[in-house]
């Protein structure tokens, strides 16, 4: 079961969308309907960022599977709806990823809401590739990710292509980012 909502989009802040941008956006939206988001991304390049419109549950078993079989490199941003620092931290990480010109899975995990309520907050994380929501007893899920995580958000985990796992409260230090995407 998914929680669908109206599709949203936002233009890149640094580069205002002119006539060409409108055309590109329109084409991308149309193509997204027919060919899926990956194709839309390919057409729109960096000018279009789309807000996710579905969520996937994250329970006590999810993290082990993601570390074992999930995409790499990847960044997981654990957040709550009442965390005002989290959107800024996500944006800094997204900017780093975009500047790296590397294929990266950029995942947001909302810990305190699910379903439509989670989607209401998805626009804070425009550019994320996937949106999870906690499903179950929050402390147990949190400890499945990291037994020493003291429930401070944003909590970020960087999974490197080489199998490395780095953890950070708040935006990771530059050295950590460099190690993640060398």
């Amino acid at each position: 079961m998914t929680f669908g909502s109206k599709q949203q989009r936002s233009a890149d802040r640094e580069r205002p969308v002119g006539r060409r941008g409108v055309l590109a956006a329109s084409m991308a939206l149309a193509l997204s309907a027919w060919g899926g988001p990956a194709l839309a991304q390919a057409q729109a390049g960096r000018k279009l960022r789309v807000t996710l419109n579905s969520v996937v549950h994250f329970d006590e078993t999810t993290w082990a599977r993601l570390v074992d079989k999930g995409p790499r490199p990847a960044a997981y941003i654990f957040t709550t709806t009442f965390c005002p620092n989290c959107p800024d931290a996500f944006e800094k990480l997204r900017t780093f990823v975009m500047d790296s010109h590397r294929p990266v899975e950029l995942v947001v995990v909302l810990m305190d809401v699910d379903g439509p309520k989670a989607l209401e907050h998805a626009h804070h994380y425009t550019g994320a590739t996937r949106l999870y929501t906690f499903h179950g007893f929050e402390p147990a899920i949190r400890q499945s990710v990291d037994p020493k995580w003291p429930n401070v958000t944003p909590y970020m985990v960087l999974l490197g292509r080489d199998g490395s796992v780095q953890r950070s409260i708040g935006v990771p230090e530059p050295a950590m980012l460099k190690k993640w995407l060398p």
Binding site: A30, P73, C83, R130
Partner: protein, 441 residues
């Protein structure tokens, strides 16, 4: 006109694209949840995304177990909370002649259809005051995320009946007024304090972001037990945004508020201030004036993040006992944990008293004290099992003994200490029941 004609094809194309996209959005959502790789904004990794993707089945709403507890003047223990239907209720347990505390059935209170925040650090509060006054305060979340009003239910007949809810603060912007705490001082003046973002909203912007650290602490007073309130008064700029505020009455009878503060540039330690009414410097007689905040903890935790973890505060014979969460640099290591320490009467810390709780999984600790007896309780969670632990001192906090009081599987609230005279209990609510443990030193 020319211009309009010139862009018509563009508009038509845009409309076509948008329409097609909207038609396809449902299919998109389906693909996503089924585990198909998606790629918006950031470039998607090349490996399959199926590692943890699982279609989201229907789920039960997570219970909101955050509750307020207090002793009534007759010694009965009361609890205010929210049930599975989101309704506010109160229930009480008379002083047990023998055996354990037995709760009366929950009694639903009319909140006029308000939504109620009752999860974690933001929970209903319950306070008994003079002349049969019983107050239940809560945050009413509003439609916009992270906004809310502080609301109050008031009884003047010992809790038999409650009037319709009122909004406590004068400011009615749809912004943050949340994480309220309230209490009576020794003179019977009601103090309400909350986290408020009016100054953040009004701050000049740099780019598209306000040039303001965190939120602010505001307060007001009521000299008639919550029937009317004085003006909103700022206690301090730059509080942390989503941590509970602790209240404690000092030996002088005045209330102190302690909260997580954002000291320059981004140090999330704690501040404490006297909540004082009618002091010199007030704008008019009876108008409250806050004491100057002082820094109460020095972890020097520099972070742009949200701890969701406010402090606890209790009066000592010569100051205050406090517990708080923080991350402190110790040598090469950053040590996270809940710490205990003593404060001077003016709120400044006594560094020689600071120590970690004996549990690196301790969270959301509470503290209470009576004379030389000091109790610290906390929740310690290991997977699905949560354990209630206590750290007890009979010598004013110089030495402690740790005890395990209880454990439970699954959802539960943070433990709440409450005391009346010599009696001290910890109340711990879970999804099935509300447990009460008498603290024995």
């Amino acid at each position: 006109m020319t211009s309009s004609l010139a862009i018509s094809p563009l508009r038509a194309l845009l409309a076509l694209g948008t329409a097609l996209a909207l038609c396809g959005s449902a299919a998109w959502a389906h693909q996503d949840a089924a585990g198909t790789k998606v790629a918006h904004g950031a470039q998607a990794a090349t490996a399959p995304a199926g590692g943890g993707a699982r279609p989201a089945p229907a789920r039960k709403p997570r219970p909101q177990l955050g509750s307020g507890v207090a002793f009534a003047p007759d010694g009965a223990l009361w609890l205010a909370g929210v049930d599975l239907q989101g309704r506010m209720f109160v229930q009480s347990a008379p002083v047990p002649a023998e055996g354990g505390w037995r709760w009366t059935p929950p009694r639903i209170l009319d909140t006029g259809g308000d939504a109620i925040s009752a999860d974690g650090e933001n929970r209903p509060k319950l306070v008994f005051g003079p002349q049969g006054t019983v107050l239940v305060a809560y945050t009413q979340p509003l439609a916009k995320p992270n906004t809310g009003y502080v609301r109050l239910l008031r009884s003047t007949d010992g809790g038999k009946t409650f009037a319709a809810p009122v909004t406590v603060h004068a400011d009615r912007q749809v912004i943050t007024h949340r994480f309220e705490s309230l209490g009576f001082d020794a003179k019977g003046v009601l103090h309400t304090v909350w986290i408020d973002k009016r100054d953040l909203e009004a701050a000049p912007k740099v780019g598209n972001k306000p040039n303001y650290r965190g939120a602010a602490i505001y307060r007001n007073t009521s000299s008639d037990g919550g029937a009317t309130f004085g003006p909103d008064i700022k206690v301090a700029d730059h509080s942390c945004e989503c941590c509970r505020i602790a209240l404690g009455q000092g030996a002088d009878g005045e209330l102190r508020a302690m909260w997580r503060h954002v000291f320059q540039p981004n140090v999330r330690d704690h501040a404490i201030a006297v909540l004082r009414a009618g002091t010199p410097g007030a704008a008019a007689p009876g108008v409250a004036t806050p004491g100057e905040p002082v820094r109460a903890t020095f972890d020097d935790w520099r972070v742009d993040a949200c701890p969701h973890h406010g402090p606890g505060l209790a009066a000592a014979e010569d100051g205050f006992h406090t517990v708080w969460f923080g991350i402190r640099q110790q040598g090469e290591e950053k040590v996270a944990g809940v710490r205990y320490g003593r404060l001077q009467a003016d709120g400044t810390p006594r560094p020689d008293t600071v120590r970690m709780l004996p549990d690196d999984r301790a969270e959301h600790a509470d503290v209470a004290a009576q004379g030389q007896r000091v109790a610290v309780v906390w929740r310690s969670t290991d997977g699905m099992t949560s354990t209630l632990k206590a750290w007890l001192s009979a010598d004013g906090g110089q030495t402690f003994q740790v005890r395990t009081l209880d454990s439970v599987q699954g959802e539960n609230d943070f433990p709440r200490l409450v005391q009346s005279g010599q009696r001290m209990v910890v109340v711990w609510r879970n999804a099935e029941e509300v447990k009460v443990h008498d603290i024995r030193f």
